[in-house]
Symmetry: C2
Subunit: 409 residues, 2 copies
């Protein structure tokens, strides 16, 4: 069992340790929920003030051109592309993950007709499933959603499969799917693939181009530290762009938005997947988070993420607490989180929060702890498990004030 | 012809004059483009810093509940409702105008089957037309877009008309449609109506409930002063909410988003038209703009808007410049802008901007001047027409640097 002194020594030799001073981290808090909402980069508020007062306030409408607001969705998209193995011109920041899913699924289903099945994993994040269900209804049931156990995805891809829709890292247990293998399998069987990178981008190396991925979406407010409700991103491989039809045909995806033509004509490149006018405030806040990540080697991020997860599991197991491990034991099979199961999971998380350790709860019984290598320390893990041990030893969770209410992703 | 001294006297007795000190208005600029991007309320940057540092930074994930982020889309929606004559629980801030149009049109078309026509006005703002075209394609052509001259709308509503989609104030000439009459006409003929309030909300009195309007959308970054790319809003009349199906089924529109169920079930009320996670930064910035408007009587806003418009027209006509008036001469028929036409419109706007008077240009030949009664003064109008006169008298626009490029809505 690692001692706290040894955890301190790990922090002292951690090459990513200097990054934590670029975040506002409240005193006395161990924050293990960066996979829900990433922490605040210190640069963000000054950058927003500068945007608001100097750009919006003084340039007014001229900001769209003089401050290049118009190209921000693509410029920040290209930066995110460097985090997920995507060459320039394939990633766009726009809208929400849900809306981006709808854009890409609608295009993929049309392209793959008469194939009509959107194949996904049981237990995928609900919005992924809901959006596929919504598209089925919207299209007059020209497509339908089918889900299977994640371990059976490849076997389930058949001649009816239009597109395989998978989240690389499961939000509820942190299990990671094999992007390269499943993408290859989908392609062998004539299906397109769409990866949801909500719990991947900024947390582990992703190689979209190298894996020949067709489509992807992801979230700006988790490991990218873009702030609450930050805009999302989408990826469309170069080769697919001219063939993938935009159905969410807002004016900014038009080939010439400022010609104000009566009929929609899609832009040539990734910009065709813009829809309405993007929020410049949110884009700039997201850029602050992405800029920080770009300064850290992704290999170092992954190395530390796994080390933090392994340490967490070792310490929990060593403390002989009454939890089942919900996540894969081996790091390679995990994203950047570790999940435990306990029938009183909700109340335990509340008791932990009272002690200043913030994880979260996912129905029905999952305690979820996310590790953000840019600002979580080895001692955070040690302190979190010490608090968890205290909560369990004293049955602190067994109090009325910790009864179940809503929690937030 | 009103003298500048008389304009100054009008400013001195203007009951809305005190509002201008709540905006950052750059020195030496006459800003007549608040119908493209509203000016910056002074409160916004401090409010954003407070949100970012105190809420996101310190409450982290807990901000969703402790700072009530989750209910912001509805709370800010209710505030906007007070500006557009909508009782509480019918307006939601979410996504972009384009996305909100798609949400409401998709639901309306389903509800009205077998009626299949989306009837709109020729020259409607392109995104309204494009989104209807996109929905037609997405639905397998179970609906189609038809446009007619705005004066022929009522006559064109027939048994095939599922929904009438109109922008109350035309973005290109400022002409205002008769919401009460056209809504009644649509209902008599069995059609639903959807009003786009992009150039209405915050600029003139709107009475959605009193006119028995079914559906509406609108923009946050024009007269609501929410900042570049601010989120948009949507309105669904109470009676229609339980029957209007959401097709853009993101997780936050679910009846119980935090139950993480596999199948979508819509929320009971207006929240069913939420989709993905909303940007809290943008919502809070929008709220700052809306809060200012709520302090001003809408009648006073309309009175001043028309007075500014009348003064602009009077002065332009008095100066005998070589323009055609593109907007209705009588105030009742206008929104809060006046448009002129000139074959060299683009270059003239550039020359005016060089003189510190910011209007905008709309293809092919429209010079557009918007009036924001909270911060535009009578002397602004006087100075703008003086600058316009100088530009025309000296043919200042006839220079290479004013050749045509892109402009931005």
């Amino acid at each position: 069992m690692l001692s706290r002194a040894e955890a301190l020594a790990l922090d002292a030799s951690d090459p990513l340790a200097p990054f934590s001073k670029h975040f506002l981290l409240p005193q006395g808090i161990v924050y293990l929920d960066g996979n829900s909402l990433g922490a605040l980069p210190l640069a963000t508020s000054d950058r927003l003030v500068q945007l608001v007062r100097k750009q919006w306030g003084e340039a007014l409408i001229g900001g769209w051109t003089t401050h290049d607001w118009l190209t921000l969705p693509r410029r920040v998209g290209d930066k995110i592309g460097r985090l997920i193995g995507a060459d320039t011109g394939q990633v766009l920041v726009a809208d929400s993950t849900s809306i981006n899913l709808l854009k890409l699924l609608a295009g993929a289903v049309e392209l793959q007709a008469p194939r009509s099945v959107i194949l996904s994993q049981d237990g995928n994040f609900p919005t992924d499933l809901y959006i596929a269900q919504g598209l089925a209804a919207l299209s007059g049931h020209r497509c339908r959603l089918r889900t299977v156990n994640p371990s059976e995805i490849c076997a389930a891809i058949d001649a009816e499969t239009a597109v395989v829709l998978l989240t690389e890292v499961d939000y509820r247990n942190g299990a990671r799917l094999d992007m390269a293998a499943i993408t290859a399998c989908a392609h062998e069987r004539g299906a397109l693939i769409l990866w949801d990178l909500a719990h991947s981008a900024g947390a582990l190396p992703v190689a979209l181009d190298a894996c020949a991925v067709d489509l992807a979406v992801g979230c700006g407010y988790k490991y990218l530290n873009g702030g609450p409700g930050a805009p999302a991103f989408l990826y469309v491989a170069h080769a697919l762009q001219p063939r993938l039809r935009p159905f969410l045909t807002g004016w900014l995806g038009h080939a010439e938005p400022f010609a104000f033509e009566a009929d929609y004509r899609p832009a040539a490149g990734i910009e065709r997947f813009l829809c309405g006018t993007p929020s410049i405030l949110s884009l700039v806040a997201l850029e602050c988070g992405v800029d920080l990540l770009l300064e850290a080697p992704m290999d170092a991020i992954r190395h530390k993420s796994l080390a933090l997860g392994d340490l967490f599991i070792d310490l929990v197991e060593g403390a002989r607490l009454d939890f089942a491990l919900a996540s894969p034991r081996e790091g390679e099979g995990r994203g950047s989180q570790v999940c435990l199961r306990h029938p009183q999971g909700y109340a335990i998380i509340q008791a932990l929060i009272r002690r200043g350790v913030i994880g979260d709860f996912r129905s029905p019984d999952v305690l979820r702890f996310g590790f953000a290598p840019l600002y979580n320390r080895y001692t955070d893990i040690w302190d979190a498990v010490a608090a968890l041990t205290a909560v369990m030893d004293a049955a602190e969770w067994d109090r009325p004030e910790f009864m179940r209410r809503q929690s937030v992703t």
